[in-house]
């Protein structure tokens, strides 16, 4: 835990690649593209970095590459730099931000580059599906053929039954995400969908269709996390990376209630007890919605909406997933929390997707599977 007297960590820059099936780019190409954009933007060279922290969940499975942090450093031509990869399933990027902020706050480093990437289009979908399913417990769930959308479907059915919520109510999430993504230049699916488009969408695990789930795509995003010294020449509006908290939930089959994310709620409790911040409808909030039902349950677990009522409040939340969420922006897994960070950072400074957020706090929520582990990243605007 970070206590009083620690240094502060700030976001100096975030750059993102448009999420797509980049058949012409390797993971190295994608990562170097966003790294160069970040470093050029702030006038640094790779040799000036203290750390390069990589976030990827599936690189060893899908590109056959272990140790991508030092591979990238070799491509950057730097030797005197600390490198490491961080992996926490779909929440890897949030864990990487925690690592970076801890280094800066402790004073061990002052310039930490975090780069998240995932190359999801190297194989046919069924192989990607097989590898992606390893976010669940391989020995208990994976080996039996139980997959993430299966759980999302079961949770969605339980939720609709328990709270008397309709299929159309749940689908409001997807419609809003696509509308937001239509204004995001980095989104994989930047188009609007109709409120009944799930009817003609391919079924994955009934009732989960392609339009209830994230698209598979390649992406990379990089962020430079710096200490106080580096902010002397920074723009007037700064964003502080205040804190990161996380928790772990029981596996789904051991939970009494399938329709609440207790790890998300616990992480919020840890964050609020330290920083006295609560999640409100007008806050800039960027949550994980691998499936639309997860977005709704996350809002309820964060206390923004009553149980079973999240679909009624999402239109009252102007700064909710402004980039379109995982649903429509996309979910290049190891990079996703960096995309969330980029969207919030830009929203709080220069503006993003046609909007500017003037509130003090922004929160990123990231999780792996149905709340198996959930992470919250607290950002705060600072005016110099």
């Amino acid at each position: 835990m970070w206590g009083d007297g620690m240094l502060k960590a700030y976001i100096a820059s975030v750059e993102m690649l448009k999420i797509d099936r980049h058949y012409d780019k390797s993971y190295v190409d994608m990562a170097l593209e966003v790294i160069d954009a970040v470093l050029n933007g702030v006038g640094l060279t790779p040799s000036e970095l203290d750390y390069i922290i990589v976030s990827t969940a599936f690189n060893s499975l899908l590109t056959h590459q272990v140790g991508s942090s030092y591979i990238l450093a070799q491509y950057l031509g730097v030797k005197n730099v600390n490198v490491a990869s961080v992996e926490a399933g779909e929440a890897s990027g949030a864990a990487a931000l925690d690592y970076a902020a801890s280094l800066v706050k402790s004073g061990k480093a002052s310039k930490v580059l975090v780069v998240g990437f995932e190359k999801m289009s190297e194989y046919p979908s069924w192989i990607v599906n097989r590898e992606y399913s390893k976010i669940l417990n391989y020995m208990v769930e994976g080996i039996k053929g139980v997959t993430p959308p299966d759980y999302a479907a079961i949770i969605m059915k339980e939720y609709m039954s328990k709270y008397n919520v309709t299929r159309e109510d749940v689908f409001k999430w997807s419609v809003k995400m696509h509308e937001n993504a239509s204004k995001n230049p980095y989104a994989q699916l930047p188009f609007k969908i109709s409120k009944d488009s799930y009817v003609k969408s391919l079924v994955m695990s009934d009732p989960i269709t392609m339009h209830d789930s994230f698209p598979v795509g390649d992406g990379a995003a990089a962020a430079l996390i710096v200490g106080d010294g580096f902010t002397n020449n920074a723009p007037k509006e700064l964003v502080e990376l205040v804190d990161v908290e996380s928790s772990v939930n029981l596996p789904l089959y051991l939970r009494e209630d399938l329709t609440v994310f207790e790890a998300t709620a616990k992480s919020l409790s840890k964050l609020t007890s330290k920083h006295r911040v609560s999640v409100t409808k007008d806050m800039a909030l960027n949550v994980y919605d691998t499936y639309n039902i997860y977005g709704l349950i996350t809002l309820e677990s964060l206390g923004v909406a009553e149980r079973g009522k999240a679909h009624e409040v999402i239109d009252e939340m102007p700064y909710l997933n402004v980039g379109g969420g995982l649903k429509a922006r996309g979910h290049p897994v190891g990079a996703t929390p960096l995309y969330q960070l980029g969207e919030l950072y830009k929203l709080m400074t220069e503006g993003f997707a046609g909007m500017k957020y003037d509130g003090e706090y922004g929160i990123i929520h990231s999780m792996s599977g149905p709340d198996n582990t959930s992470w919250l990243v607290l950002l705060r605007r600072c005016v110099r």
């Binding site: 080996i143 997959t147 009732p207 029981l250």
Partner: protein, 137 residues
């Protein structure tokens, strides 16, 4: 090879039996055979075997491909609440009419093929569930 032989063999008890971990510290039961209680972390646990009967909590009919064959799709994946009170994730097979599936359906565990290393490799077996009414017929 789809699975490691040694990984599968080492955990064979959990594939061929429905084992429940009962915690003597907090009193809660969990699945599968574990050395620590996932609820309280205690190592003061005992392992008992389920009778293999339960009811369907909920289910999905899935078309999500995780291998190269579509022959086995769609499949039914469900959460089963055993009579001993513990939930387990499992495939539900031998369902004559998908419309007969509903929460509360009585089911029983059976040994079936999980997967195989095509075309001439190992066959991996484990427990799935069938509607109890099938077994009675």
């Amino acid at each position: 090879m789809k699975h490691s032989i040694s990984i599968f063999w080492r955990d064979r008890e959990n594939h061929y039996k429905l084992l429940i971990t009962k915690c003597r510290n907090c009193g809660k039961s969990s699945y599968p055979k574990l050395k620590r209680c996932p609820y309280c972390g205690s190592t003061n646990v005992e392992v008992v075997e389920s009778k293999g009967r339960g009811t369907l909590v909920n289910y999905t009919i899935t078309y999500f491909r995780v291998d190269g064959s579509e022959a086995m799709l769609p499949k039914v994946i469900g959460l089963v609440k055993l009579d001993e009170g513990v939930k387990v994730p499992a495939e539900i097979v031998d369902v004559p009419d998908l419309s007969s599936l509903k929460p509360g359906l009585e089911v029983e565990a059976v040994l079936r093929k999980y997967s195989s290393d095509d075309p001439h490799g190992l066959i991996y077996y484990g427990l799935k569930f069938i509607p109890s009414i099938i077994k009675k017929q």
